[in-house]
């Protein structure tokens, strides 16, 4: 009998699944309207689950039915009290499994008698189960899986009187508890009927063997497209197309992409039709994944102590919040935080960045920073609170971030509604969770929101249904495509169920516990599936995603022998690609020379020359286009930061000491150094306890002190007495009309062996591998142009230095402290064999050579030189971020390419 006729006659239809029930209701509504009816009573068509629940609730029970998250919380509570679960890597997952095992036991009527339980897991479960049952009784709770039994009791006691006529629809494999229920109903005099299965005989079957899974999804999409196009051409209503997959999680993304590309490319681009997606998934995606909801969860996750930069960034950049502010403003604050270099942020630190942005940022940035700072202050966060109190707090927090307020699209507002329902479900957990702190709150809310599926309702037809094999039973289609019909999926291999003894499960007929039963079940299922539509396509890919061979299921035998690699149709994308690349090679590129560096906003000093040294193109990209590397904060200390700490400490130290003589006279060098390093950390915030934690700052101080003491010991040993005449002085050099801002680490006035005064520019370096070769010139410049630049073009008179007689690297690095010197008075600063040598033979010639080279480099930059030295470029680790711009292929130098895997 047709279910709609049955329902029309006032009978109740119980469907095996919610999906079948829904299909029947759709059929009912269509039929009513087709009959010209304008209004009708909603039919009594329910899924078994919902029918049980309705019937049970209609008796006005006094026990509280737990929703899934509540039940999970109760299980977790039981586990947390139990000794057996202590030390588990994931108690939540154990609780979930235990709940599943208990549900299986209810559904399949497996008695939980500790006697039959032997392994430690089984025994532990038996104990948890007992505690859980006690808890249910004590608190007046009941779980959904227990409702059928509850209902049976009500039936027996006569409290509940079932409907007189019931039609069962779509049941392929009844579970024992369902069977028990139907038998009891029959005994109670209910007129039970069973709806016939979709088609009396199998539809037309076609079997395909796509070469790979990727090809399989494309073939499936092409099939669907062909069916839709045929109906469209014939002016018929769209056919109902079913696509079945055994593993939804592993197919969802690939299948959806294939459908989008091959069936509905209009959904891939912006436009009015973008939302018209012709397919629908049987299982909704978790609400937690919806952007709007994810943004809310992110905001709640922010704590006051240690937040990852990623989290802060997600909050700042989310389009769903603070919608009044432009993206530019949000990203500006984010960039400021990144530049500060710390990957972990306290609330206070974020506040400080907001302040900085308000003071120094642009107008839009400042406005956003102000609101964001206000939001951070936020309504006071309770230490611990009931979920329902948290829920109110959450609402206020979100409101303060404009979340869910600005004109939402239909889909977004549906998501917001679903979120509100979840908040209710969360509120309902007062009894299970009691007072919890913020991190537990977030975890539980996440649990609720992840458990809730979200699929926006749409107002267009979605002819393609994508279902898991299990969900499809009882449905019918015009065209059915069954994917991944490989031996490993059908029959389903046995899956161990922890916690329940295998033989008990097998006896109870739990699917997947006995191979013979799995086989029979699979055969039944296949027999059912081929009757679900007049046209059925079975697909078994020949290889999996990793290239391993797959065998088609042996339950069907007429598989083609050779796999096919063709999709069966061409996608829009392929169409464009096949027309050939529509690109042209541009003519030789050029850029105008620099006319006015200030107007171009060119910044930088020596860095320009260094970039040009890598390649003129790099100088152009970095300094004329302003392509600075996007900051990537690092954990802990960085070389740059440590260098800064050493620099600043030395500046302070020499500011106080001035001369070598004084250094030599100083008692207690380590304490002296320590005081200065500490001062730099505290007053200048470099490597400070605030930014890095007290522990890290202390360790770093120890390191710096040790290093600096080593270094100063070396300075003591310098043969020629010296006086430090300049520290960290600022000056500039003008080359080819380009003014470069410079910072000089230090200048020493040295009493040379001949009694004259010599001036030496010193640059601190922490690289161990550095020698005089760094100052050698070739056609493309100088590796380390900084000191040669001081010796040639820098205007040091600004610092009171009359001339430069030499340049030196001061290598302040662990285990390799040393001076590298080029001068007109010595080869070394620390004597070897009693002498310091006599210096560069022809100093003026050396200086002239440097000058020529530096001029040449600068001329290239100013003139708009765009050339790239690929070899040097790929060796420079500071240029890797520009790889894509120069279209660099994998370099042999890259570390990863030396890994054979």
């Amino acid at each position: 009998m047709d279910s709609w006729k049955f329902a029309e006659g006032g009978g109740t239809v119980i469907a095996a699944t919610e999906r079948v029930a829904r299909e029947l209701r759709i059929a009912y509504a269509n039929e009513r309207r087709g009959n010209g009816k304008k209004a009708w009573l909603a039919p009594r068509i329910y899924s078994f689950r919902s029918w049980v629940r309705r019937s049970w609730e209609a008796s006005w029970p006094e026990r509280q039915l737990l929703h899934p998250a509540q039940e999970h919380a109760a299980w977790l509570y039981v586990l947390e009290k139990s000794g057996a679960a202590s030390g588990l890597l994931s108690r939540a997952s154990a609780a979930r499994q235990a709940r599943l095992a208990a549900a299986t036991a209810e559904r399949y009527c497996v008695a939980i008698e500790p006697g039959a339980f032997a392994t430690r897991d089984e025994l532990a479960f038996a104990e948890w189960h007992r505690t859980f049952e006690e808890l249910l009784v004590q608190r007046g709770w009941i779980t959904e899986e227990k409702l059928p039994r509850g209902l049976l009791q009500l039936l027996e006691s006569g409290v509940w009187i079932p409907e007189p006529q019931i039609l069962l629809a779509g049941f392929l494999d009844e579970t024992p508890i369902e069977r028990l229920m139907f038998d009891a109903l029959a005994r109670a005099g209910v007129l039970l009927e069973r709806a016939s299965m979709p088609l009396p005989s199998p539809g037309h079957i076609e079997a395909l063997r796509p070469g790979t899974r990727r090809v399989q999804f494309r073939q499936a999409a092409c099939r669907a497209r062909a069916a839709l196009e045929a109906a469209q051409a014939a002016g018929a209503a769209p056919p109902r197309i079913g696509i079945l997959v055994p593993d939804m999680a592993g197919s969802r993304d690939s299948l959806e992409s294939a459908l989008a590309e091959f069936v509905a490319p209009h959904t891939l681009t912006a436009g009015a039709l973008r939302g018209r997606v012709p397919w629908r998934f049987g299982q909704a995606a978790p609400l937690a994944r919806h952007p709007t909801v994810a943004a809310a969860l992110d905001m709640l996750s922010l704590d006051s102590y240690r937040n990852s930069l990623e989290l802060v960034s997600r909050i700042l950049l989310a389009p769903a919040t603070f919608c009044a502010h432009p993206n530019e403003a949000k990203s500006a604050l984010d960039l400021r935080i990144r530049k500060a270099g710390s990957p972990r942020l306290s609330r206070a630190a974020i506040q400080a960045h907001c302040r900085a942005e308000r003071e120094r940022g642009g107008q839009a940035g400042a406005a956003f920073a102000a609101q964001f700072a206000g939001w951070l202050e936020g309504p006071p966060e309770p230490e611990r609170a009931l979920p329902s109190a948290w829920a109110d707090w959450i609402e206020s927090i979100l409101k303060a971030a404009d979340w869910g307020r600005h004109d939402l699209t239909g889909e977004q507002s549906q998501a917001v509604d679903a979120w509100r329902e979840c908040l209710d479900a969360f509120r309902a957990m007062d009894g299970q969770l009691r007072e919890i702190d913020r991190s537990r709150m977030v975890a539980w809310l996440r649990e609720v929101v992840t458990g809730r599926g979200f699929q926006p309702s749409v107002d267009h037809v979605q002819p393609i249904s994508i279902l898991s094999n299990r969900d499809a039973t009882g449905l019918s289609f015009d065209e059915l495509i069954v994917l991944d019909m490989v031996g490993g999926n059908l029959p389903e291999p046995a899956k161990p169920v922890p916690f329940l003894p295998a033989d008990a499960l097998a006896r109870a007929g739990v699917p997947g516990t006995r191979p013979e039963e799995s086989l029979a079940r699979a055969q039944r299922w296949l027999d059912h599936v081929v009757r679900m539509a007049p046209a059925v396509t079975l697909m078994a890919p020949a290889r999996d995603d990793n290239g391993a061979v797959l065998q088609p299921t042996p339950l069907y035998t007429a598989w083609p022998s050779a796999p096919s690699e063709e999709s069966g149709c061409q996608s829009h994308l392929e169409g464009i690609v096949r027309r050939g690349q529509q690109t042209e090679q541009p003519p030789e590129e050029w850029v105008p020379p620099i006319a006015d560096a200030g107007a171009e906003d060119i910044r930088g000093g020596v860095s320009i020359l260094k970039a040009c040294r890598v390649s003129p193109w790099v100088g152009f990209a970095r300094h004329r286009l302003g392509l600075t590397p996007f900051p990537q904060p690092q954990e802990g200390m960085t070389a740059a930061l440590q260098g800064e700490l050493v620099h600043r400490s030395l500046e302070r130290i020499w500011g106080e000491l001035r001369t070598q003589e004084e250094l030599r006279r100083l008692p207690g060098l380590p304490d002296f150094v320590e005081a200065h390093v500490r001062a730099v950390q505290l007053t200048e915030g470099i490597g400070s306890p605030n930014g890095f934690g007290a522990g890290m700052a202390a360790v770093e101080r120890e390191r710096a002190v040790e290093l600096l003491v080593d270094w100063l010991e070396l300075e003591k040993r310098r043969a020629l007495p010296f006086e430090v005449v300049a520290c960290e002085g600022r000056t500039r050099a003008v080359l080819e009309g380009l003014a470069l801002d410079l910072r000089v680490d230090r200048v020493d006035k040295i009493l040379a062996a001949d009694g004259s005064n010599r001036y030496l520019v010193i640059d601190y370096k922490s690289l161990a591998r550095l020698d005089r070769a760094a100052w050698e010139c070739d056609d493309e410049g100088i590796d380390e142009p900084q000191l040669p630049l001081y010796a040639t073009f820098a205007d040091l008179r600004m610092l009171g230095i009359p001339r430069i007689d030499g340049i030196a690297f001061a290598k302040v690095c662990e285990g390799a402290t040393d001076f590298i010197l080029a001068s007109n008075f010595a080869d070394r600063l620390v004597a070897e064999g009693g002498t310091t040598g006599s210096g560069v033979a022809d100093w003026p010639a050396q200086v002239a050579q440097w000058a020529r080279s530096l001029t040449g480099t600068t001329r290239g930059f100013v003139g708009g030189d765009l050339r790239l030295n690929r070899r040097r470029f790929s060796r420079d680790r500071f240029s890797a971020d520009l790889d894509a711009l120069v279209r660099k292929r994998a370099s042999a130098a890259a570390a990863s390419s030396d890994d054979p895997f």
């Binding site: 829904r22 509504a29 304008k38 209004a39 909603a42 929703h67 108690r91 997952s93 392994t119 430690r120 897991d121 497209r225 469209q232 209009h266 891939l268 681009t269 018209r276 943004a295 992110d298 990623e310 997600r314 950049l317 530019e328 829920a391 699209t409 209710d424 509120r427 309902a428 267009h460 922890p498 916690f499 295998a502 990793n546 391993a548 061979v549 994308l573 690349q581 529509q582 690109t583 042209e584 541009p586 906003d601 004329r624 286009l625 302003g626 590397p629 802990g636 200390m637 070389a639 522990g695 890290m696 202390a698 770093e700 050339r867 790239l868 711009l885 279209r887 030396d898 054979p900 895997f901």
Partner: protein, 1121 residues
């Protein structure tokens, strides 16, 4: 020839023996020996002897191999139904399969229909299964996700370890240790992450020892190493020589005693003096003696010593002896390593704590690594009391275990196997079949340890189970010429003896089983670095192979992916079709680079490099001049804003204006759709399409772009990247998949393991390798325990430095030996022809570059080089030209073509019922935005009224009150009423019901009537719209249908406030009630009157809606409800 014949006989015998399932077997199966077929045969034999197919467990190295074996067993079973095949080995398989099938039929397994019953899996899968079966026992708590790339989890653990610095007291010993470790890494925690991650990945080696307190530091391990090295020397120098050497050395005054020293640690210095006499500093056996060393010429002890030295040279393995002597000479004295040991102790303490943090990190991530699963699986099988019931059950189920590739199993995997077989008794019908080839052990870096296999061989047993040792020798794969060449070559370079200490194995030669068929091995010699020449020669070899056999398979193999770049380019340039596996990093292909630029730009407006990449990408195609015009005066800040500001500027060329305009239009259109803008993956895809990304790529590149987007989606949470850094990291581990079909395949030697090809071309053999920087920490697993040695600082003592060198030397040697085996694997892939591209250094020394593969093969190939005569010289590399990097760009007029065959589904209005018409409706509040208290009180009121009126219990309230209250409380709790308000809410509901029955209006609407209904779900189709809803109450009185909507709010309001509330509600819900009224009037064909009922006020108020009049419903006929 006779030798070969014997070997053949032995081989046949071994193959027969291998099929005896009543005994356990260790089978050595060299390359090409038909190992897989043998495994299939043994599996079939096991099946025929099983009660259930599940009793046979096949363990393979990869998932792919598991699938392949299963497929082959199933194929054999299917074949057994057919006629007997001709070939001999196929015939064996056929017979065995028939036996298995007979068993299947006898016991009704249905194996051919149910292939899942055949248990073939990797050890990782087995571990996961075991751990999943025992959430408690394994301590996992459930089947946690196993992270393919656990690096982020390790990183998390390391960072939380260092965070401890802030929490501990200054004087705390652990804090001191942690500080020391950090200092050691120059305080750059980021730089310590890779190192500590590596150590964490290997924790199966050290953690159990440390955890059990059995790891007592460096000294005991070192002492054990010393003893084993002394032993090695003693064993390789014949006794008779020992005495003479000692005596001569004593006479020369170089030794204290006159006898050969004992094998004790105390005698180390004596030993070292002796060894110093026998080897030079360069590590060669000494040939000359000198007077200053105490050996003046023409003295008896000098002559005697000379004679001894000559005899040593003549021993079987002089190189091995020299190595052993050098080892001893270089050993640090245990007492000399105190500094290193103290620090190593600190490291150990830190590592132990780190392992604890790792556990917490696993918890946070909800995922674990494979090593963790393995450890936990083992825990599930055995505890302090021995075998667990789980194991007993399993033990009962598994009777035959077959293990493939056993040379590459790690010690943890061996432990698992030991647990699985722990209850086995000889003769109980259970069997172990271990097959492997120690010559092909190439996974040392994955903790595989060939020493395990050597131990099996040495002990001829495993875990108390005697193993019959079998050796296969026949090679069915390769042409005799290839087999012969491999035998000759590798014999010369493989170690002579197996040695677990150094990880060396010796070669067992193969006998060709195929008839000679014109196969050959060809070496191509060059001088210098033949980048271009090698590529050209490889192309020639491919072409030659193709002429010879157009369908034959050809493989180009290299040790590292970077070694095939030039060859790959040459193959492509020659127009040959090829496919490669994991060669080209996806991230480095231009199409993907452009896509990544787009993704990053859309993610972050301030990422200027990304924006420039995007603007320069072919599908935007801005010239440098135009880009400069945009950035002029704006070298910082948002490039997008700069672009907007400069749109239409005169400084920009016409072409540029056009491109900028199109770009901004596309971008703004996409950004204006908020759903789209929220999801970075969709947004990037949409923009890429419309900008013309597809028109700028080849089909292969399009596939790469798809893969990039897929990966991005995996890294999105709610449309935003969870961590951009992790996405980028993951991208660098993906490889482009140019699958051009055709017979040529390019891959690494590792990837070729288990495959075979007609022609194999080895490239890059000559490429040298810079010596890697010494690690911060040298870890070496020795049979005596794990040696962890930190790099010596500038002030470290000699002992520490020696120790560090020792550990590094051990590692390097093991790597070299593994490289030898890798080359063996590579060469033995060839069926017919093998080409080796070789080169000697371009300078005067005629030898391969240091660190090259060829250097290892040189002892065997030097003669070949000499015979080859002049080698071709290499040309210079051509990649240092200086040019502006150019990018192709899309034609300026290009527009995105509207899709032709896109299926746009029609609006559903006409075709399908709207969602609200089909969903299951329930009673309750319909204001989703009201506060939860009001909503739930409302729902409670609706339900209570329905319940009372449905059952005609209008006047039973006093009797039912308490049970209703309890039930209401339960419902409120389920639905989310805050616990503190549950009681008052229930009271409130009952109060509202009381008020209802106390009011005149309330009593009237609640009165019993012939036709009435409560919370009635109705649906319909009116004026082309689907409508549906739940009518709180309706009844016919007397000739009209009344439709009542309850409004339960307004708590606490009185007087005008209450009136205002009611007025507002009336207005708000008027449209809804109007729709209900229409539905009800259609349904009942009666004129309808609609009203709101406010229990708070006890008043019914007519709804201000156009109610259908009786004229519209002519044939009024009440329907039974």
């Amino acid at each position: 020839m006779d030798d070969a014949h014997d070997l053949e006989l032995a081989d046949s015998y071994a193959r027969q023996q291998a099929l005896q399932v009543d005994r356990s077997v260790l089978c050595a199966a060299p390359a090409g020996s038909g190992k897989t077929e043998l495994l299939v045969q043994r599996a079939l034999a096991c099946l025929a002897a099983s009660r259930n197919p599940e009793e046979t467990l096949l363990i393979t190295f990869t998932n792919k191999a598991a699938q392949e074996i299963r497929e082959r067993v199933m194929r054999a079973l299917s074949g057994a139904v057919g006629p007997k095949p001709e070939a001999e080995h196929a015939c064996t398989t056929w017979h065995l399969a028939r036996e298995a099938l007979r068993r299947d039929e006898e016991l009704g397994w249905g194996l051919r229909l149910n292939p899942g019953r055949l248990r073939a899996m990797t050890i990782d899968a087995l571990n996961a299964m075991l751990a999943g079966m025992a959430p408690v026992l394994s301590g996992m708590g459930g089947a946690l996700q196993v992270a393919e790339r656990p690096e982020p989890i390790y990183r998390d653990a390391v960072m939380s370890l260092f965070a401890e610095l802030d929490e501990l007291e200054d004087a705390d010993a652990f804090r001191v240790a942690l500080g020391a470790v950090l200092r050691f890494g120059r305080n750059r925690s980021e730089e310590l992450v890779p190192l500590l991650s590596q150590i964490l990945a290997k924790r199966e080696q050290w953690l159990p020892l440390v955890a059990r307190g059995e790891d007592t530091g460096i000294k005991p391990v070192l002492e054990a190493i010393i003893l084993s090295r002394l032993d090695a020397v003693s064993r390789s120098i014949p006794l008779r020589l020992q005495g003479r050497i000692a005596a001569a050395a004593a006479a020369a005054g170089r030794c204290a005693g006159t006898a050969w020293p004992d094998n004790t640690v105390a005698a180390l210095s004596e030993w070292q003096r002796l060894c110093g006499l026998l080897v030079t500093k360069q590590g060669d056996l000494r040939k000359r003696l000198q007077a200053p060393d105490g050996f003046p010429p023409k003295v008896a002890h000098t002559e005697d010593m000379k004679a001894c030295l000559l005899e040593l040279q003549a021993l079987a393995d002089p190189a091995g002896l020299a190595g052993a002597l050098t080892d001893v000479a270089e050993l640090p004295a245990p007492d000399d390593t105190v500094g290193a040991a103290a620090f190593a102790d600190q490291v150990r303490a830190v590592l132990f704590r780190l392992a604890g943090h790792l556990k917490l990190a696993f918890m946070r991530a909800g995922a674990v690594d494979f090593a963790e699963v393995a450890r936990r699986a083992l825990d599930a099988l055995s505890d302090d009391q021995g075998a667990t019931p789980l194991l007993q059950r399993l033990d009962y189920q598994v009777r035959h275990i077959l293990i493939d590739e056993s040379q590459d199993t790690s010690s943890a995997q061996m432990d698992l196997l030991a647990a699985l077989t722990s209850g086995w008794q000889p003769g109980d019908g259970r069997s172990l079949f271990i097959v492997g080839d120690k010559q092909q052990s190439i996974y040392g870096f994955r903790q595989a340890d060939v020493a395990g296999f050597l131990a099996l061989e040495r002990n001829a047993g495993f875990n108390g189970i005697p193993l019959k040792r079998l050796q296969l020798t026949r090679n069915f794969r390769s042409d005799p010429a290839v087999v012969g060449w491999c035998n000759d070559t590798f014999r010369k370079i493989f170690p002579i003896l197996d040695d677990p200490y150094t990880g060396s194995v010796r070669l067992s030669p193969s006998v060709p089983a195929r008839a000679a068929g014109g196969g050959a091995v060809e070496t191509h010699w060059f001088r210098g670095e033949p980048h271009q020449e090698e590529a050209a020669a490889a192309v020639r070899a491919i072409k030659e192979a193709l002429t010879h056999n157009p369908t034959g398979s050809i493989a180009v193999l290299a040790r590292y992916r970077s070694h095939v770049r030039e060859t790959l380019a040459a193959i492509a340039a020659a127009g040959l079709r090829y496919s490669c596996k994991d060669i080209d990093p996806l991230a480095s292909t231009p199409a993907v680079g452009d896509m990544v630029g787009l993704i990053r730009a859309l993610w972050h407006e301030q990422d200027r490099v990304a924006w420039a990449t995007l603007l320069r990408a072919p599908f935007v195609g801005l010239s440098y001049a135009d880009l400069l015009a945009v950035t002029k005066g704006r070298t910082s800040g948002s490039l997008l804003q700069a672009l907007r500001a400069r749109r239409g500027s005169a400084e920009i060329s016409a072409d540029g204006s056009c491109r900028i305009g199109r770009f901004l239009d596309v971008l703004d259109r996409a950004l204006s759709e908020r759903d789209l803008a929220q999801d970075l993956g969709r947004l990037a895809q949409a923009v890429w399409y419309e900008l013309g990304g597809p028109a700028c790529v080849t089909a292969g590149e399009a596939e790469d772009v798809r893969a990039t987007l897929r990966l991005l989606r995996e890294h999105l949470v709610g449309g935003r990247p969870d961590s951009m850094r992790e996405f980028m990291d993951a991208l660098h581990h993906l490889y482009a998949a140019p699958d051009g079909g055709g017979p040529v395949q390019v891959m690494t030697m590792h990837a070729a393991k288990g495959l075979e090809f007609d022609t194999v071309i080895l490239v890059g053999l000559w490429r040298g390798q810079r010596r890697p920087e010494p690690p911060l920490l040298a870890c070496r697993e020795t049979p005596q325990g794990t040696l962890i040695v930190p790099a010596p600082g500038p002030r470290a003592g000699e002992g520490h430095q020696r120790l560090f060198r020792l550990a590094n030397r051990l590692n390097r040697d093991a790597e070299r030996r593994e490289l030898l085996r890798l080359l063996y694997v590579a060469c033995t892939r060839a069926r017919h022809r093998l080409h080796l591209m070789c080169a000697v250094s371009g300078t005067d020394r005629e030898a391969p570059l240091a660190g090259s593969s060829l250097e290892l093969m040189w002892p065997a190939l030097a003669a070949d080089y000499a015979a080859a005569g002049a080698a071709r010289a290499s040309s210079a590399r051509l990649d240092s030209d200086l040019r502006c990097p150019v990018t192709p760009r899309l034609r300026v007029g290009w527009t995105y073509p509207a899709p032709q065959n896109s299926y746009v589904p029609p609006r559903s209005r006409i075709l399908l019922p709207a969602e609200l018409a089909v969903r299951e409706a329930g009673a309750g509040c319909d204001d989703r935005r009201a506060h939860v208290y009001e909503r739930l009180v409302g729902t409670g009121y609706h339900e209570t009224m329905a319940r009372l009126l449905d059952r005609g219990e209008q006047d039973q309230l006093p009797r039912l009150r308490e049970s209703l209250r309890s039930s209401l409380i339960a419902r409120m709790r389920m639905r989310g009423m805050p616990e503190p308000r549950v009681m008052s809410a229930a009271t409130r509901v009952l109060d509202l019901v009381d008020r209802t029955f106390a009011s005149r209006d309330g009593r009237w609407l609640a009165a019993r009537r012939a036709v009435s209904g409560n919370e009635t779900a109705v649906a319909g189709y009116l004026d082309g719209e689907w409508v549906a809803g739940v009518v709180d109450r309706f009844f016919v009185e007397p000739d009209r249908l009344w439709v009542i909507d309850y409004k339960s709010g307004g708590e606490g309001l009185t007087g005008p406030d209450l009136d205002r509330y009611m007025e507002a509600e009336r207005g708000r819900y008027a449209p809804q009630v109007a729709a209900y009224a229409r539905l009800m009037s259609e349904l009942h064909r009666l004129p309808v009157k609609a009203a709101f009922y406010f229990p708070e006020a006890g008043r019914m108020v007519p709804a201000d809606v156009p109610c259908p009049t009786s004229s519209e419903v002519q044939s009024a006929k009440p329907v039974e409800a």
